[in-house]
């Protein structure tokens, strides 16, 4: 066991440099190129997965958008609201199939997604799941709709008003139930209710027609269809295509301004909630999150690496154990609590007012560079401290651990035996080799920072990507979620690539070229 190789390579600085450049040359370059090419399918899978997740998530953005202001006024005007809803879904492209093709079973139908009301879609999907014969189910739904409208349209008088209310309620229930027991009971109710008043003959007939349609579903059930897989082709008229490539013309002038250009042509769509182009919303948040992230990473590494090394050197001493305890204490208190405490005690005239409690300052374009810089630094100081302290424990612990592993290695013992001073042993020989775990962590830092910034940005009212992503998820703002995920994905991929390259630079034993 004699990894002498390492010693000779890093022992002399000149030689080390040469090796470094040698490594960066062809095999590594080829490797990077290969990795970047692999980005494309990875990003494709990520976008597709996000699409699937979004469409599986409960909640309907169109419904959320409409219901926000429906607490007063004439919103109960059923037809008007339904029209608004249908139109909105169409505008947002929610009535399209999700992808070019779908792996489903033969029972599924491609027209189901066009049914506007989400509850109804779910009920119908259940029926399809249970009975597998879409034509009959579609017919049943049609009958049920007719029944509902005839009930609404029937003129009320003193004899039929009670019956009509009951009928309406029961029909409303039929729309959301799929279990046979419940439905049979509901149909019995409907028949009784329609018999209550003499002038409901028409409705009674419709109830019977609906029930027949329902029993037809059962009698002509084709459950086997569920077990036969099917590839359903939807063509380019689908949500994914619309998002990725857009519907606008590729060549020549587009006449219809309402059509989008798609993600790969740099059109990220319009946010559902703010109705702004996603691009400008994201740019607003991106620079500040990137700035904070980079500063935080720098601060964390500058402090944690020397700290970890010093702990490793004095392993077992009082300094080691005392520092360890202190670091674990900081780790144990969540950022949201420390942040609140900092605001409460360090920004308030009741205690010490050193830092501002919110925002990024109010420097404007006209202000000089130094004022702008000072203002921003003044506002970011506390958030940066809060954001970075939590990782000290983890990072320095990793650094300490890997340093100890390296210091125990044979070649270090050899170096010591040769009489090299301890300082030299550590910085020249051990340091580079102990960086591996820290580099591994580096890769996952970018995405973690974007996710983790949610709380920080909330506490200090910093309008960054974290806030934007969180709001988008809560508001079901699909274009925002998609674009944010794509940005996060690209950053993550770059982070991984950088960390893999750093591996090779730091540890010459790792090679990406074929042997």
């Amino acid at each position: 066991m004699k990894p002498v190789e390492i010693e000779t390579k890093s022992g002399k600085t000149e030689a080390g440099k040469k090796v470094f450049f040698a490594r960066i040359s062809f095999p590594l370059f080829g490797y990077i190129l290969k990795r970047i090419l692999i980005f494309i399918p990875t990003l494709f899978i990520i976008s597709l997965l996000t699409f699937i997740l979004i469409s599986a998530a409960p909640g309907d953005p169109a419904e959320t958008m409409l219901s926000r202001s429906s607490s007063e006024g004439q919103a109960s005007d059923k037809l008007a609201t339904e029209r608004s809803y249908r139109e909105l879904r169409h505008k947002l492209g929610l009535d399209l199939p999700i992808f070019y093709f779908a792996f489903t079973n033969t029972a599924q139908s491609d027209t189901l997604i066009r049914i506007p009301t989400k509850n109804h879609r779910e009920m119908l999907d259940r029926l399809v799941y249970e009975y597998g014969n879409w034509p009959q189910i579609e017919n049943y739904y049609h009958q049920l709709k007719t029944l509902e409208f005839s009930i609404i349209a029937t003129k009320k008088d003193s004899t039929n008003v009670d019956a009509l209310i009951e009928l309406r309620n029961t029909v409303a229930k039929v729309f959301i139930h799929h279990q046979d027991v419940v439905l049979s009971a509901l149909f019995t109710d409907l028949k009784e209710q329609s018999a209550l008043a003499p002038n409901l003959v028409d409705i009674k007939a419709k109830v019977e027609a609906t029930e027949i349609a329902y029993s037809k579903i059962k009698s002509e059930a084709s459950v086997w269809k569920r077990y036969v897989p099917k590839v359903q082709w939807s063509g380019t008229h689908n949500q994914y295509h619309r998002w990725l490539f857009g519907e606008a013309r590729w060549v020549g002038e587009e006449t219809d301004p309402t059509l989008g250009k798609g993600f790969i042509r740099g059109d990220y769509g319009i946010s559902f909630f703010t109705k702004r182009p996603v691009k400008s919303v994201i740019w607003d948040g991106l620079w500040i999150t990137m700035l904070i992230s980079i500063l935080v990473i720098v601060i964390e590494y500058i402090i944690s690496i020397p700290l970890g090394i010093s702990l490793a050197i004095r392993k077992g001493s009082a300094y080691d154990s005392g520092m360890t305890v202190a670091l674990f204490i900081t780790y144990s208190l969540p950022v949201f609590w420390i942040g609140t405490m900092a605001i409460f005690f360090l920004c308030s005239p009741d205690y010490i007012e050193i830092f501002p409690p919110f925002g990024l300052g109010d420097a404007t374009m006209e202000d000089g560079f130094f004022y702008k810089f000072g203002d921003l630094a003044y506002h970011l100081a506390l958030p940066l401290i809060i954001a970075s302290y939590a990782s000290f424990a983890y990072l320095s612990r990793q650094m300490r651990g890997s340093m100890l592993t390296v210091l125990g290695a044979d070649y270090i013992r050899t170096a010591r035996a040769k009489g090299l001073p301890e300082n030299k042993v550590i910085w020249r020989h051990a340091f580079r080799n102990s960086l591996l775990p820290i580099i591994t962590i580096f890769a996952s830092f970018f995405p973690a920072l974007i996710g983790g910034s949610i709380i920080l940005e909330f506490l200090f009212t910093i309008p960054g990507l974290g806030q934007i992503t969180y709001a988008a998820v809560i508001q079901k703002d699909y274009p925002m979620i998609l674009t944010n995920t794509m940005f996060a994905a690209i950053l993550t991929l770059v982070g991984y690539l950088v960390s893999d390259i750093l591996y090779a630079v730091v540890d010459p034993r790792i090679s990406y070229s074929k042997k």
């Binding site: 399918p41 899978i45 599986a56 208190l333 949201f336 592993t405 591994t440 979620i481 034993r509």
Partner: protein, 431 residues
């Protein structure tokens, strides 16, 4: 034959040796005891903090209400008529012994609402009923919450990290060990498996989607049962597929050996998983299962938290793979598993154990962040939830210090145990 028995003996000796080394380290052993103590607290929580008396004599008869409660919980007992839905503190006992903390976490002490501290003036009948760790906004006893929260914290932390470690070590080892070229199968098996993966997914989950979600909505047990059935179907289809492949292998073209790019695929999985915001995943899954309970949260943390561990193992294996002792081990004819567990993993142990130890505390903190966002379970008291209460009331230090200290103890002890294990398993120590 002889070599095998030697190896086995070696293995036994190895673990005994590790244990011996571990015992030498005092801090690690103390930490182990603390973890055991926490486990005991978790198990005995109903006896430590409860509104019901441990023992009482009521109207001339002796009762053991806490034991009774536990038996009712297991469905083997029934509450006595006179004790159904009563306020246990208001009964007129002949003799009574309350648990050390005479409150349940959800008991609301109307006299001490709006977060009374341990040193604040509290409205209690006697010091016996003092809230030693204070109360929260609803007047609930913090100490009782801490005790009952121990179980939740331990299960959340350990269970989620267990899932993460298993997946992480498995996939990380595959990626690092076999790389892109070292695992060879026949062409037909490779493509066959991809095809059957699709069919397995279709029949196990696609066809049964509503069965599973319905069962999950009904109860966790039903849900797991249905999931188990799906997993069986999945395994069945895959096995069937692999059996079908065997005769086809004889065809020369299909039988050609190709490499499975494990590293490539697993690294892409990690990238994809890390690119989708965890919060989005959590929101989504919580909303699908409708009732955000702790098992779901554990599952999510476990299923998303393995990537770091996998990358550590892979990174270490990349380094170790080319080392001479692996080559030596190879030439000695040791199995892959042996190389993996005796040489590669012990080398990667330090970063992995640290990240597991931090992960356990991290899971507890994640649960608390979920509470902060309002997505945690509402009617169980957890350490994390206490912390998120503390944020809203900066003056109420007792809501932060105690759970904070508990998390500190957890993270420290697990770290120290990890340290001890790293040292004990250090392959160099053996010489």
């Amino acid at each position: 034959m002889a070599a095998d028995t030697v190896r086995e003996k070696n293995d036994q000796g190895y673990w005994a040796f590790v244990w011996k080394q571990f015992r030498r380290k005092k801090t690690a052993v103390i930490s182990l005891y603390i973890v055991i103590l926490l486990a005991v607290i978790a198990v005995l929580a109903p006896f430590l903090a409860n509104e019901k008396p441990l023992v009482c004599k009521y109207q001339g008869e002796l009762y053991f209400p806490v034991l009774k409660e536990i038996s009712v919980g297991f469905g083997i007992g029934e509450f006595q008529r006179q004790f159904q839905n009563i306020d246990w503190k208001k009964l007129d006992y002949d003799m009574v012994i309350f648990p050390p903390v005479p409150y349940l976490p959800m008991n609301q002490d109307d006299g001490n609402i709006h977060s009374k501290g341990p040193f604040d003036e509290q409205v209690v009948p006697s010091m016996r009923f003092h809230h030693w760790f204070g109360t929260d906004e609803l007047g609930r006893d913090v100490l009782a919450g801490m005790i009952h929260g121990t179980k939740i914290a331990m299960t959340v932390g350990i269970f989620s990290m267990f899932i993460a470690s298993v997946i992480g070590i498995l996939l990380g080892s595959l990626a690092g060990f076999y790389g892109d070229e070292n695992f060879q199968v026949s062409l037909v098996r490779l493509w066959g498996n991809l095809l059957f993966l699709f069919f397995a997914f279709f029949y196990a989950f696609g066809v049964r989607s509503y069965d599973i979600t319905d069962a999950l909505g009904k109860s966790l047990g039903d849900g797991f049962f249905q999931l188990f059935i799906s997993v069986l179907i999945f395994a069945g289809v895959i096995t069937l597929g692999n059996l079908l492949v065997i005769p086809l292998k004889k065809i020369p073209f299909l039988g050609k050996q190709v490499a499975v790019p494990f590293d490539l695929v697993i690294m892409r999985i990690i990238e994809v998983l890390n690119s989708i915001p965890t919060l989005f995943l959590i929101l989504l899954i919580i909303s699908i299962v409708r009732k955000p309970n702790l098992y779901v949260i554990m599952g999510i943390i476990g299923l998303t938290g393995w990537t770091g561990i996998a990358r550590f193992i892979r990174a270490e294996l990349l380094k170790v793979r080319s080392l001479e002792y692996i080559e030596a081990a190879n030439s000695l004819g040791y199995s892959h598993a042996h190389i993996l567990f005796r040489h590669a993993i012990p080398n990667a142990l330090s970063p992995v154990l640290i990240s597991i130890a931090f992960g356990i505390a991290g899971a507890i903190l994640t649960e608390s962040t979920l509470s902060f966002l309002g997505l945690g379970p509402a009617d169980t008291v957890t350490w994390g939830q206490l912390l998120s209460y503390a944020r809203q009331i900066p003056q109420a230090w007792w809501l932060a210090i105690f759970p904070g200290f508990a998390i500190f103890v957890t993270v420290t002890t697990f770290n120290l145990i990890g340290d001890g294990l790293t040292d004990a398993m250090d392959p160099r120590l053996k010489q």
